[in-house]
């Protein structure tokens, strides 16, 4: 079967509801999607990379974004980085509920690793979106 025929055949197959659940689990707890699929090495590597990236970012003094804009800043500009941060699922939500990593503290912003921390936190979320899509595809039978 050539690639285009295979893609057409896959498009006709309905996505199983379990794939959506696995995708949601993969987003909420990084690595859980692959763990539920018993893809242990991938769960450990991909989930572990996201967890590490997140905690290294926090440890560097990184700042996460929510809709509360700082004075003189547009609320709209907060949305794209907030979407990236939100990719870490429960890690973001728990930090937000605890108010940890969201403070606009000048002393924190003065740290040499502040911008590195921000980048690690953003990338943790974006990598987890990739992990989530991979888990979804595996659960839907689109890849092994």
């Amino acid at each position: 079967m050539v690639k285009t025929e295979r893609i057409d055949a896959e498009a006709d197959e309905p996505t199983p509801s379990s794939a959506w659940l696995i995708g949601t689990a993969a987003w909420f707890i990084p690595g859980l999607g692959h763990a539920l699929l018993k893809k242990w090495p991938r769960a450990l590597l991909m989930g572990g990379a996201v967890w590490l990236c997140f905690f290294i970012g926090l440890n560097m003094g990184g700042h996460m974004f929510d809709l509360n804009a700082a004075e003189g800043s547009s609320q709209l500009l907060q949305v794209p980085p907030m979407i990236a941060n939100l990719g870490t699922g429960a890690l973001y939500i728990i930090s937000w509920l605890l108010g940890y990593g969201f403070a606009d503290d000048p002393a924190q912003a003065a740290r040499a690793t502040y911008e590195y921390g921000n980048t690690f936190l953003l990338i943790a979320g974006l990598l987890n979106y990739l992990t989530m899509l991979d888990a979804f595809d595996v659960a839907a039978g689109r890849k092994s």
Partner: protein
């Protein structure tokens, strides 16, 4: 030195995820992960030297 270590750590974490999801076989995944890691490092170093000469 610390900047280089942070860049290496970043490249390693990103290439682990890219490598793990990128290809079909374990060997291809390893090779792809190493290739992505090398690309991150080389591009990072080139960019840093280019920016070094820009005042």
């Amino acid at each position: 030195m610390r900047h280089f270590l942070v860049m290496t750590l970043f490249a390693a974490l990103a290439s682990i995820v890219f490598g793990a999801m990128g290809k079909d076989t374990t060997r291809e995944r390893w090779l792809y992960g190493v290739k992505v890691f090398a690309e991150f490092m080389v591009i990072g170093l080139v960019l840093s030297w280019v920016l070094y000469f820009i005042p």
